[in-house]
Every structure is written in structure tokens, then in C-alpha cells.
């Protein structure tokens, strides 16, 4: 049984269907990147997986010991207010809320928070104010919070938006490490070249149709060829391509 299995999924809002007939699954250990144009339904699908939006038809099933509320989630940066007074520790600790029903945090919840701060390398800034951190540090904090909520699967929504190239690379490396340590990763991304570099599977949403399969197959599919820059865009190369095409 897969962690998540979507069958004939149809999702949308009052003003229309975003996508339909979508089937794919996420298995233990996968690193799935969801890519596609703006408005192709990446965010809607992600909200569906998290249970924030219900599908119009079709099924999302959770299995292999994964529960819906046992998914760690890293939201888009813009969803968080920039002026919220909260310390790093408070934010990370709030990720453990789903582990226990009682109103106050237990010792084991605090331990989980500390372990995950260590894991993403933010233990030294735990008393700092969240809003004063750099973009890359903020994403690490939110990643630690997501890890507190799960031991199995995290969903990341465009995690590198607004990060500089170095911070983006560090975040990708961190996610890759987590994946190697056994955390299954589902990432919504605009950055298709990095997606192909890191992910094991690609789900490409494209209006009417979609591609789902391993990265290896994706790169050779018409979807991949259209979006990946395999040819150098400079004038000389384009000229050479035309020459070879005509030949």
C-alpha cells in the first residue's frame, strides 16, 4: 500500500474545475516534485492532499501507516505574517500539537522540537524572533516545525520562493538529506531544473493532461522536453540547431 494514492481525482472551486482524471501515488521513500504552469492546480492538489480542500470526485487514500494529520507541511512564505512576534522555539514547538490532546506541551513534545531544530541546524537561534531571521533561516524553522508533525512525509509548497541561490541550494541539500534519512518528500515547485536534479518522481500538471512517472522517464517525455532547457538559448546554438534540424 502507498502512503498516498489518488484515483480519478477531480478538484476545483465554485468557479470551475481545476483538473480531473488525475491518478498517482506516493510511496515510502519517494521524492515527488509537482510541477506545472501557473493555474494548473499545483496548490489546489497540495491542499487536497492536506485535507484543506475536498476533492469534487475521486479518492485520496492514505495508507502504510500514514494518517492525513500526520503529514508535515511547509507553507508558502507569503501565508505567514511578516510582523508576528514569535520565537523560533515557539514556532517549532507548535508543530508538535497534533501529537497530544492535552492543553500543555509534554516533555516528549519539547524533546521532539529540540531534536528537529538540531536536525535542520537552527538550535543556536532558538530564542531569536522569527520575523528577524533571513528567508533561508525562516524556511529552516518552518521545516523543523513540519518535521515535528511527522516522521513519514512532508509536503513543501514552493519552498525556495524569495530565497537567494545559495540559500536555495542549502535548502535543497537539506531536503535531500532528510529524504535519504527516510522522510518521504512531496514538493510543489516552479524550479523545474532543480526538481529534475533532486526528485525521484515528477508529477507535471498541464491543464487537460498530466505526466506522472519517474524523473528518468520525465526527462525523455514530451512534457520534460518542452520545459527543460536542454538546448543553449544563445543565438549561435539556435542557429546550429536549425541547421541540424534541416539536415
Amino acid at each position: 500500500m502507498s502512503y498516498i494514492k489518488c484515483t480519478d481525482l477531480k478538484m476545483g472551486y465554485e468557479d470551475g474545475v481545476v483538473f480531473e482524471n488525475l491518478s498517482f501515488s506516493v510511496n515510502k521513500g519517494d521524492y515527488l516534485c509537482i510541477v506545472g504552469e501557473n493555474g494548473s492546480g499545483k496548490s489546489t492538489l497540495m491542499k487536497g492532499l492536506l485535507g484543506l480542500v475536498s476533492p469534487l470526485s475521486g479518492a485520496i487514500e492514505y495508507g502504510d501507516g500514514l494518517e492525513k494529520k500526520g503529514i508535515g507541511y511547509l507553507p508558502q512564505q507569503t501565508d505567514i505574517q511578516s510582523d508576528f512576534p514569535a520565537s523560533v522555539y515557539e514556532v517549532v514547538l507548535s508543530g508538535t500539537l497534533s501529537l497530544r490532546k492535552l492543553p500543555f506541551y509534554s516533555k516528549s513534545q519539547k524533546k521532539t522540537a529540540f531534536e528537529n531544530m538540531d536536525r535542520v541546524g537552527i538550535s543556536d537561534i532558538k530564542n531569536k524572533c522569527f520575523q528577524e531571521l533571513s528567508g533561508g533561516q525562516q524556511q529552516r524553522v518552518l521545516l523543523a516545525r513540519a518535521l515535528c508533525a511527522t516522521t513519514k512525509l512532508i509536503i513543501l509548497d514552493e519552498p525556495i520562493t524569495g530565497l537567494d541561490p545559495l540559500a536555495s541550494q542549502e535548502l535543497y541539500d537539506l531536503v535531500k538529506t532528510l529524504n535519504k534519512d527516510g522522510i518521504t518528500v512531496v514538493m510543489v515547485s516552479h524550479d523545474i531544473n532543480s526538481a529534475v536534479t533532486h526528485a525521484s518522481h515528477i508529477l507535471h500538471l498541464s491543464g487537460e493532461s498530466y505526466f506522472y512517472g519517474t524523473t528518468h522517464k520525465y526527462v525523455r517525455s514530451p512534457y520534460g522536453e518542452k520545459f527543460l532547457i536542454t538546448d543553449c538559448p544563445c543565438d549561435d546554438c539556435r542557429h546550429q540547431k536549425e541547421v541540424s534540424d534541416n539536415a
Binding site: 492536506l50 485535507g51 484543506l52 494529520k69 503529514i71 508535515g72 507541511y73 507553507p75 501565508d79 505567514i80 505574517q81 510582523d83 508576528f84 512576534p85 514569535a86 520565537s87 522555539y89 515557539e90 514556532v91 507548535s94 508543530g95 500539537l97 497534533s98 492543553p103 500543555f104 506541551y105 530564542n127 531569536k128 524572533c129 528577524e132 516545525r145 513540519a146 508533525a149
Partner: protein, 270 residues
């Protein structure tokens, strides 16, 4: 200095006012962060309308105001979420309509002398039964807030994450709205319809100038609010000026001071 508390009404005002200030400060942090600052203002106007109607019909005012304001709070929450009307516009519509109803009812039924005390508050207005009722409500508000503190933090910081991990934002938003409604109703008589929202907004804003963690903002906000109320009450007694406005100005002064301190601190850090 203690002789001012030899008057029963002063003791009542002190107890009720302190508790209300504390409630308002705790909830204020949440409301300011959720961009619901004006909800207190809207609800207090609804409360005014309810009080005027209750007074005209000769029913106990608080027992009418509590359910009416609770319902208004839920409606405002739904309106600002669901409808095409913006949240702030919805509040303005409801609050001015309720105020208008209150003023007309009050003038038709000949309550004009009381109008002033409803609008700007009066420490003489609370009876013993009122005071007991207020204390019970305030204790409930504080207890519920403390019990749900962690969930409220999570929901306020990031609703989607909270929802995804099994905390129901709608439920906690309802709880916050209900607690706000109760706080408004019990604070309205002392602070007045037009000034009660200050108790909600000022301490939170002041605390947010200086504090870096959520817990410290909540604690400092609570302390500031109680401090400002007690000093406002004492000052208003000695200078024979209205209590509500004195407390508001005291809060305003604290906000200015904190604002200046935070600016200086930023300069020093650069």
C-alpha cells in the same frame, strides 16, 4: 492613598476593571495579529444597542447584552470570511446600525441621562450582581484562554498548518470571537461603548514594540493593561475626571513611550 478604596463602588470598579483589562489584553494580542482590531469596536456598539433596548424594556442589561453580542461576534466572523463585503466594511455596517438603534431607543424611552454613561463609561454603573456576573465571566475567559493557549497560538500564526495537522481553525476562531464578545460586554459599563476597544488594542501594540516572543508579548500586554487601568482609575478619582478616557490616555502614553524606546533601540543596534 488606600482611602479611595473605602468606597464600595471603587472596589467593584477596581476588581471588575482589572479582570476586564487582563482579558482584553490577552485577546487583544490575538485580534491585532489576526487583523481583527476593529472587531472590539463593532461589538461594543452592538452591546450598546442591546443595553439600550434592555433598559427600555426593563430587563437586566447584561443578560440581554451577552447573547446578542455573542451572536453578533459569530456573524461578524462569518461575514468577514464568506461574503463579498470586506471584514472592516462589515464591522462598520453592523456597528453604526446598532449604535443608531441604541440611540433612538434610548431617546424614545427617555433614557437620555444614562446615554452618557453608556457611551463613555461610568464606574458608578456596576451593581453588586453585575460585579459578580462580571467576575465569573472574566475568570471563564482567562481560564479558557490559558487552556487553549497553544492551539490559539498555532491557529493565529498559521491557519493552514494548524488545519493540516488536525487543529480546527474554525473552532478556535469561534472561541476567540466568543471570548472577545464576553470581554466587551463586561468591560463596556466601566470603559464605555466608545472606548472599550482601546483596552483591546493598546496593550497589545505596546507589548509588540518591545517583545520578541509570543509568550512575552502576552505577559507584558497583560501587565501593561492592568497597570494602566489601576493608575487610570486612581488618577481619575483624584482629579475628578472620567475613568474610561483617563485609562485610554494612560494606555496611549505607554504606547508612545514604548514606540520611542523601540526606535531608539533600533538605532542603537544599527
Amino acid at each position: 492613598m488606600l482611602e479611595i478604596f473605602s468606597y464600595d463602588f471603587m472596589v467593584r470598579a477596581l476588581i471588575v476593571g482589572t479582570l476586564v483589562s487582563l482579558c482584553a489584553a490577552l485577546l487583544g494580542v490575538i485580534l491585532v495579529l489576526k487583523r481583527y482590531s476593529m472587531i472590539g469596536d463593532g461589538l461594543s456598539h452592538v452591546g450598546f444597542g442591546a443595553l439600550a433596548v434592555a433598559a427600555a424594556a426593563n430587563i437586566a442589561p447584561l443578560q440581554v447584552a451577552v447573547p446578542v453580542v455573542l451572536i453578533a461576534a459569530f456573524c461578524l466572523l462569518r461575514l468577514s470570511k464568506k461574503s463579498k463585503l470586506n471584514g472592516d466594511a462589515a464591522i462598520a455596517v453592523i456597528s453604526s446600525s446598532a449604535l443608531a438603534v441604541g440611540v433612538i431607543v434610548a431617546s424614545v424611552s427617555g433614557l437620555n441621562t444614562d446615554l452618557n454613561s453608556y457611551l463613555f463609561g461610568s464606574i458608578l454603573a456596576t451593581t453588586d450582581t453585575d460585579a459578580v456576573f462580571c467576575v465569573v465571566l472574566a475568570v471563564v475567559v482567562i481560564a479558557v484562554f490559558l487552556v487553549f493557549y497553544n492551539k490559539i497560538f498555532s491557529v493565529t500564526f498559521d491557519e493552514n498548518f494548524a488545519a493540516a495537522t488536525g487543529t480546527r481553525p474554525a473552532l478556535y476562531n469561534m472561541i476567540i470571537a466568543a471570548l472577545t464578545a464576553l470581554t466587551i460586554v463586561i468591560g463596556m459599563r466601566i470603559m464605555g461603548t466608545l472606548l472599550i476597544s482601546a483596552l483591546i488594542i493598546f496593550p497589545a501594540l505596546s507589548a509588540m514594540r518591545l517583545c520578541k516572543s509570543f509568550k512575552s508579548v502576552i505577559i507584558v500586554s497583560g501587565i501593561l493593561s492592568v497597570f494602566c487601568f489601576i493608575f487610570g482609575l486612581i488618577l481619575s478619582y483624584y482629579f475628578d475626571i472620567p475613568t474610561g478616557p483617563t485609562v485610554v490616555l494612560f494606555n496611549c502614553a505607554v504606547l508612545l513611550i514604548f514606540f520611542v524606546i523601540s526606535k531608539i533601540r533600533m538605532k542603537l543596534m544599527m
